[in-house]
Symmetry: C2
Subunit: 307 residues, 2 copies
Amino acid sequence: MTQTVSSAMVDWIAVDWQADRIAAVALGAKGIVGRRETREVASAGPQSHEAALLALIGDWLRPGGTTPVLACGALGARDGWIETPFRKVPVALDPAADLVAAPASDPRIQVWVVPGLSQERPAEVMRGEETRIAGFLAGNPDFDGVLCLAGITTKWVHVSAREVVSFRTAMTGELFACLSSHAALLRDPERAGRDDGAFAEAVGQTLSRPERLASELFSIRAEGLLRGIAPATARARLSGLLIGAELAAMRPYWLGQQVAVIGTGDILDAYVRGLAEVGIVAETADGASMALAGLAAIRAGMRTGTA
Amino acid sequence: MTQTVSSAMVDWIAVDWQADRIAAVALGAKGIVGRRETREVASAGPQSHEAALLALIGDWLRPGGTTPVLACGALGARDGWIETPFRKVPVALDPAADLVAAPASDPRIQVWVVPGLSQERPAEVMRGEETRIAGFLAGNPDFDGVLCLAGITTKWVHVSAREVVSFRTAMTGELFACLSSHAALLRDPERAGRDDGAFAEAVGQTLSRPERLASELFSIRAEGLLRGIAPATARARLSGLLIGAELAAMRPYWLGQQVAVIGTGDILDAYVRGLAEVGIVAETADGASMALAGLAAIRAGMRTGTA
């Protein structure tokens, strides 16, 4: 998306920096004045990151002025723009705390990076999800329960009294991507419809017998060869087996809890349907919207707070 | 490897055709007279497969004569040289049964393909492993127990009274490859030593609680970031978690059984050490040697039998 945005309208810029894309939103007095996204992410190091950001938002900047840029995610990683120290859980979601200034050579920007969260045992880290959590809590300040941040990796986060108490990561999305393409489990991973029955059945298999994941995966390929099962069924089985195994692993998180799933598209949908199989009606929220809401809450905290 | 082999010395050629390599052995009156291997495997279709084979063994062939070529593996798949029908288990390991002639335009070769095995429920297929099994049984005719054919996919095969009774496939090797490189769980997947203690501990975790696989994998990355664990430890943990989950899935195969592992290198080693954690001292046999032994047994059956 490219719009004509007068730089005079831009008060600040919110940036959600993910491993494979950068999403930027320009905000003015009346709210959002522009949105852009790029897949041209940076290689390692501050200069490459600054160049990638300027390529995306350069024409939004006031010549002679300084526009604040507030960013979360991968730019705070070790090979990012500047490595930000993790805040350790349990931690209060004081979103404007511990912001880190990223060094920029272009005087038109002042870049602040939201630090990620870490957990000692079991060892866990997140970068970017903490901002989505802050966004969700900005709209649901009394939420007490579990947030499932669904993505290529998925975080299960226990939130209580505006604190992140603990969290755990599953690599289900990575496994799905690996198995469907690299390991050729799905002949046609992109083009496939739905088979909700096969999905539900597969969730049940690995939820009740998680050890079956290792032996059931190959059956998808074998059934394709022997019985020619439909691509949609194969895809639903793969997704269901993986989600079922994840739900078995994350039982201490969702059991008896209020659960909200934050994400988008097919991945969000798979978690909502998987949770329905264990009797949980989950709230949902859009991931990009929660990131923006979180950055806006942090920006508001910066104006009134000490950051 | 390239040797000078006089085509006059070659009685027949044994070919082990895998997804990523073709291994050929020339056999004469006194046994092996030449060995070659290539990574230049064919694309789909008979012509491409014949060209790949001739590139590898063309100079072993007698001009004006016809050399028998006996082959197992991927050339019998749907997109191979000729699709061979599966033999359904339970099935007697009569290795020369149901050989399929592959059409060749070069009159110097007569190519026979060993058919794979299939199982109705749970759906399973193998192509190539049946020949290794035949090779193992040629040397161990009274074996009654379980063969673990370790590889990028691993087959657990129940053998009794010279029959393949049932089998099951695990995709542990595929998962290891996906997670270590694509998903960047291991910073340096190639260069890593051993950490047998970490391996054993990880096997125990997923063997007793297989659902933990989904939640423990990401901890390898998080521990690397937070505590800088050694690459050898990270690799051992990933391997151990996956092998433990596979052993949990395959418990009905190994529990109370005599087990032999057929494979090579690190993968063979990981299964042997994993089985040791459940108290099983496994026999071992080399995969390539068993393939050759199997093809030789089939060749002997062809001379005396009806194929």
